[in-house]
């Protein structure tokens, strides 16, 4: 049973910045299982954030607007590469890092 679920879901680690930890009970790193449509097709960032929102409802809208765009002062890295949109592929086992940028006082 455990083996089968590992075949149909990608496990993604997500680094949570401090402004969003009110959703995760203070956790700075969480893990989500993202269902795979096909074993050879990794999930998209959109799918990862949907899975994250299933666990921590409301978080996605704080970082992605209603038109599906990453908000202006949010950056999301997949591994070490900046993801420009939600179609970015996220291989199983990869780490997604959410960064929230502020300036001024």
């Amino acid at each position: 049973m455990a083996r089968r679920s590992s075949e149909v879901a990608a496990i993604i680690h997500i680094e949570i910045p401090s402004p969003l930890r009110s959703y995760t009970g203070g956790e700075s790193r969480v893990r989500v299982a993202v269902p795979l449509l096909a074993p050879e097709a990794p999930p998209t960032l959109g799918g990862v954030l949907a899975a994250l929102d299933n666990l921590y409802h409301g978080m996605r809208f704080r970082i992605v607007d209603e038109q599906g765009r990453i908000r202006p002062h949010i950056r999301i890295f997949v591994g070490r590469a900046v993801a420009r949109d939600l179609r970015t592929l996220v291989p199983s086992g990869e780490t997604v890092m959410i960064v929230a940028a502020l300036s001024g006082g």
């Binding site: 402004p19 409301g58 809208f61 704080r62 970082i63 607007d65 209603e66 038109q67 599906g68 908000r71």
Partner: protein, 374 residues
């Protein structure tokens, strides 16, 4: 409808700021106020309100510099909070993005659980479950004339065009007014299904046609104690409208020439439809938007705007360059009425003699966006 006076009554001020929410709770005499907070430290709180229908539900419109906008809700007078499961957001097909919720308004007394929200860029939203889920009011947001009325979202003011002053007629739940900093005042008589501009008589002297049908910049619109009468603080002066008339009357002429009739907030007496207060700001040349001459003062009219008197007792006499934003002035239900305002420099000032004299009841807060006496 005029409310019953309360000569001895505790007042709580909800103070929304650029960095969170504070409360100021008075004793029954309104002599001392106790500051509590912050709630939501670090959040930009544009507005916070208590539901007058149940006396315990609080709604807070918040975002942060980086995180998107949301609504927090408490049903136990602020002890615990939950986030809206579906905050105001435009539909996918609209292609627009809510930057922040700017104005909250409870619905009609006969419709418990109904709330309205005005956003920036300008959109109107409605909740029917006490603020947990929100849907766009399509009759406005998707109105075929909306873009003609308001321009594009990029055409607004630097901080974003605001939909504000959502007024629900206490005599008729289907009769609504809204005001927009890019567009003017609009009215609906069918619960928001359709809208019509209501700006006759109001100047828009920054436009090629200075008396257009729409395109105005109202800063704040309030019901008087008599809902037949509306008052408006506009980018181009002060106005009164006595319905069913549809032409606003200019009531800024009685303001001193050196001060002018431009400001952001305006509040009305809860029982006397002739009494209002405004807080003028400098709207000359590049629009400093400070207290005129660095000498802050509240102006009161007891004659429906025919004449105004300056009230500055207790306020700084010089070199005070703050101003008061459109939601940052409020009145309580007391007798005499308590009047309150919060400043861009983080001070809260109170008068318990209907504006005659003032004292600071809080200092050193962040920039204040809204003050509501509840």
């Amino acid at each position: 409808m005029p409310t019953r006076p309360a000569s001895a009554r505790n007042v709580t001020l909800l103070v929304a700021t650029r960095k969170g929410l504070w409360t100021l709770a008075s004793d029954a005499a309104r002599r001392t106020f106790k500051l509590a907070g912050p709630h939501f430290l670090g959040h930009v709180v544009h507005h916070a309100l208590r539901d007058p229908r149940d006396g315990k539900t609080l709604l807070v419109a918040a975002r942060t510099g980086h995180l998107g906008p949301t609504i927090f809700r408490s049903t136990d007078r602020g002890k615990t909070w939950k986030e809206a499961t579906k905050p105001p957001a435009f539909g996918k097909s609209e292609g627009r993005v809510v930057d922040h919720t700017f104005w909250l308004a409870p619905g009609h007394a006969s419709q418990p659980g109904v709330w309205y929200a005005g956003t920036s860029p300008q959109g109107l939203f409605r909740s029917e479950d006490g603020g947990t889920t929100w849907n766009g009011v399509d009759g406005f947001n998707r109105h075929p004339q909306r873009k003609a009325w308001c321009g594009d979202d990029k055409d607004g003011t630097p901080d974003g065009p605001k939909l504000h002053s959502i007024l629900v007629d206490p005599r008729d739940a289907s009769h609504l007014y809204i005001a927009m900093s890019s567009g003017g005042v609009f009215e609906s008589t069918d619960a928001g299904d359709d809208w019509a501009p209501l700006n006759h008589g109001v100047r828009a002297d920054f436009l090629p046609q200075p008396t257009p049908e729409f395109g105005h910049d109202p800063h704040c619109v309030r019901f008087s104690a008599d809902p037949h009468r509306l008052y408006q603080q506009n980018h181009c002066g002060l106005y009164r409208l006595d319905r069913p008339a549809t032409t606003w009357t200019d009531i800024g002429g009685g303001m001193p020439k050196a001060v002018g009739a431009i400001g952001l907030p305006l509040v009305a007496h809860p029982r006397d439809p002739d009494t209002i207060w405004n807080f003028p700001m400098d709207g000359t040349d590049v629009w400093p938007r400070t207290s005129p001459g660095g000498r802050p003062a509240v102006f009161r009219s007891r004659s429906a705007g025919a004449s105004w008197t300056r009230h500055a007792k207790g306020l700084p006499r010089a070199q005070a360059w703050w101003t008061v934003k459109r939601q940052a002035m409020s009145v309580d239900q007391g007798d005499p009425v308590g009047v309150y305002f919060g400043t861009t420099s983080g001070e809260v000032w109170a008068s318990r003699d209907e504006g005659g004299s003032w004292r600071a009841i809080a200092r050193y807060l962040p920039e204040i966006y809204a003050v509501e006496a509840v």
